[in-house]
């Protein structure tokens, strides 16, 4: 599904930051954390103000004209040839993998393909392009990683999260059973098929708890909302965070609110 070989760029002086709508509205801390991690690596972060949403919700629901109108409004945001980093495998996958198909045979075809080639999932970018070295300042904790299905299968970053967490000396990384299985989010799927989605997320939370994780971190806000929301409603002893928030809080030196 994903390009068999990824050619990472050399570390640039500037990047575009595409925050995504879920981060914008629900998890701005994760967005700020991503920006601060990049800046600490010496990269200037450009946040195009006119960004809204990648168009994925309409696209996966089958409303392709509506998705294209929204996606088209994003295409003009990245005039320079800097990499575009996205704190989400899902939105990253939409822009990298699906934009070329969405704009096929339209006036924007070439532009969409060019932009698609510059899209990077942010943790992948930190590890493979910035070669980030993390110095853990947090308290000891036990954590499980949930890599989203799109991060895993569309962006090919399944190894990245565990490698980053592995750099944190006070973090005991545990792996939940069936780690690669979907948490049941799937966008409108969770609303159209609530029982199936509910069954999936309940098992996901059980495996996290059974693995002994006190917290879980994830690449995507959809999964976070789903898994954390289930754990909260059902009072399960595990809480979640976006991996970027977690990495920033443990390494930024001001103690972090959760460490």
């Amino acid at each position: 599904m994903v390009d068999p070989i990824k050619v990472y760029p050399a570390k640039p002086s500037k990047v575009y930051f595409y925050g995504t709508c879920l981060v914008d509205m629900f998890y701005p801390d994760a967005g700020m954390a991503g920006i601060q991690l990049l800046e600490r690596e010496g990269i200037e972060v450009i946040y195009p103000e006119d960004q809204t949403c990648c168009g994925q919700p309409a696209y996966t629901s089958g409303y392709h004209d509506e998705a294209r109108a929204v996606a088209k409004a994003q295409l003009g945001l990245f005039p320079e040839d800097w990499p575009i980093v996205v704190p989400s495998g899902s939105c990253g996958g939409m822009m990298r993998k699906h934009y070329p198909a969405l704009f096929k045979d339209t006036a924007e075809e070439v532009k969409a393909a060019e932009i698609a080639g510059r899209i990077w999932e942010l943790t992948d970018f930190l590890l493979q392009v910035c070669h980030i070295k993390l110095d853990d300042l947090g308290e000891p904790t036990t954590v499980a990683m949930h890599t989203s299905c799109t991060a895993r299968r569309e962006m090919g970053v399944a190894e990245v999260g565990p490698k980053l967490l592995g750099q944190l000396k006070n973090v005991n990384l545990v792996e939940q059973e069936r780690a690669a299985e979907c948490c049941g989010f799937g966008g409108t799927f969770a609303v159209r098929h609530p029982e199936i989605s509910g069954a999936m997320v309940s098992e996901k939370v059980d495996t996290l708890v059974n693995a002994g994780a006190k917290e879980f971190v994830t690449t995507d806000c959809g999964c976070l909302m789903n898994i954390d929301g289930y754990a909260e409603k059902n009072q399960k002893p595990v809480t979640g965070q976006h991996i970027l928030s977690f990495l920033w809080e443990r390494t930024n030196g001001d103690g972090g609110k959760r460490s």
Binding site: M1, G19, C21, V23, D24, M25, F26, Y27, P28, D29, G31, M32, E49, D50, Q51, T52, C53, G55, A58, Y59, T60, S61, G62, Y63, H64, D65, E66, A67, A69, K72, A73, A101, C149, T150, R153, A180, E181, C182, G184, G186, G187, T188, F189, A190, V191, R192, H193, P194, E195, I196, S197, G198, A199, M200, V201, G229, Y230, E232, K233, N234
Partner: protein, 479 residues
């Protein structure tokens, strides 16, 4: 035999997916049976491919199937010619009913009263058993799983393991009730008793009906993959053998079979090779001691040539029916095969069945997926199943009546209300100023956010809007 007549899928309303899925989810036995079986199958597949360059092999498999499909009309002509040269009679059926009639006519011409069947999903598509019963011809399944499903008057819940929804106890009880075997948890005993009953049927059957895994055009060979030996018995013991197959099963050359077979058995059951691999190339010859006097092939279209006309949907026809997509599907694992109400369940069913039952009847099939991509990741011939699901979703809600696409029931799921919501959503998100104002207002009035959000909050707390959007945080920071 009327008590073992198979329930006709005609009685199943495909649209009623939700109640069936709900019932399965709340049935701990079903949940446990599927979870356990799928976990086992996933782990077997994984170990079977250890030491293989799986991606290269999948590329090879995909290319073989793509090449075969690219030349499908020519290959079918070649296949017909070679099969005929080999003494096999070729029949063409445009749909399931026509295919059933062909089988019936062959049976009538031989005055056949009993049919023994090897496993065939195309015969399930045709609802052949049901049809033959109505014609006064007994049709008995000889694959153990199919036999169990037939005794239980059910339909297969998995394309490779039809009775996977039942555990040993349930099967023991069923065999006891229907055939009088002793109750036992000893799988070998149960298998042996079923075998004993079937053996007699093989000897007396007038006709054997089987499926086909690969039909080789250059040699006119029908390949049949199986584990129980019932396929070999079905195709060699009765005096007449009828193979039924979809028109997409043809491959150009014998050498194409090797890669596909290596992929099929490992993907399906995690086996390096099956116990039996049959290559059927004609009826018994004058100097041979066994084999059928007559061999027929029924090439069934049943919607396939319509799928074939669309460059994207065409990929659906690559399928070699291994079942790996369902084994790895988190939705299938939760709801089981019967919830779908279709001949083919799981991911492949979701992209294939809408062409057979239409997007009206099959309206819930393309949406019953989180698009997690596990199916596409394991598919041995790299069918982009998630992309095809999105395409079918688009077909279901598309309002373009002037240029209706090729899928039956195009636009059947479109609701004006939903279309309006997406139009509004699109309008707002294509206008950055409006979007920023809207999200800022949302953040400001977040306390007014509803605590209940339909199906979402049935299982989870509502997502919480942040006090300030990322847009605002960044703006403040730069000031």
């Amino acid at each position: 035999m009327t008590e073992t007549a198979q329930q006709s899928p005609h009685h199943i309303d495909v649209k009623e997916f939700h109640p069936r899925a709900r019932a399965a989810i709340h049935n701990p036995q079903i949940r446990q049976n599927f979870r356990k079986a799928m976990d086992g199958l996933m782990s077997k597949r994984k170990s079977a491919f250890e030491g293989w360059d799986l991606e290269t092999l999948r590329d090879l498999g995909a290319n073989i199937r793509l090449r075969a499909l690219a030349h499908l009309p020519d290959l079918l002509e070649q296949l017909e010619q070679k099969l005929t040269e080999n003494g096999i009679t070729v029949h063409w059926a445009s749909d399931g009913d026509e295919a059933c009639k062909i089988v019936r006519d062959i049976c009538l011409a031989r005055n056949a009263k009993t049919v023994i069947k090897g496993k065939s999903m195309v015969s399930e598509e045709m609802e052949l058993n049901h049809y033959l019963e109505e014609q006064g011809i007994e049709a008995l399944e000889s694959d153990l799983g199919e036999y169990i499903v037939q005794l239980a008057e059910e339909t297969p819940s998995h394309i490779i393991m039809p009775a996977i929804h039942k555990n040993t106890e349930e099967i023991s009880q069923l065999l006891h009730d229907k055939t009088g075997t002793d109750l036992s948890h000893d799988v070998e005993y149960l298998t042996a008793s079923a075998r004993l009953q079937l053996r007699e049927k093989f000897m007396n059957a007038d006709v054997g009906v089987s499926g086909v895994n690969f039909a080789v055009a250059e040699t006119g060979t029908l390949c049949l993959v199986e584990n129980e030996g019932n396929g070999r018995m079905t195709t060699t013991v009765p005096p007449c053998h009828i193979a039924v197959t979809g028109i997409e099963k043809v491959v150009p050359k014998l050498e194409d079979v090797t890669a596909l077979l290596a992929l099929l058995t490992r993907s399906a059951t995690g086996q390096h090779i099956t116990t039996y691999f049959n290559m059927i190339s004609g009826p018994r010859k004058a100097n041979e001691l066994d084999g059928p006097e007559e061999v027929h092939v029924v090439l069934v279209d049943n919607g396939r040539s319509t799928i074939y006309q669309d460059d994207e949907l065409l990929d659906t026809l690559r399928c070699i029916r291994c079942g790996a997509c369902m084994n790895h599907c988190p939705v299938y694992t939760r709801v089981g095969g019967h919830a779908y109400g279709t001949t083919y369940p799981g991911p492949i069913g979701k992209i294939l069945m809408p062409h057979m039952v239409g997007l009206d009847e099959g309206r819930h099939l393309p949406t019953a997926s989180s698009l997690c991509g596990a199916c596409g990741e394991v598919c041995p011939v790299k069918i982009p199943i998630p992309d095809l699901l999105v395409r079918l979703r688009q077909e279901s809600v598309d309002g373009d009546k002037l240029h209706p696409a090729k899928v039956r029931g195009h636009g059947a799921k479109r609701s004006n209300m939903e279309a309006m919501i997406w139009k509004g959503w699109s309008w707002m998100h294509a206008r950055p100023g409006i979007y920023r104002m809207g999200t800022r207002l949302g953040a400001r009035f977040r306390k007014l956010q509803p605590g209940k959000l339909g199906g979402w909050t049935q299982y989870r707390t509502a997502p919480k809007l942040a006090a300030k959007t990322l847009h605002e945080r960044i703006k403040e920071r730069s000031q």
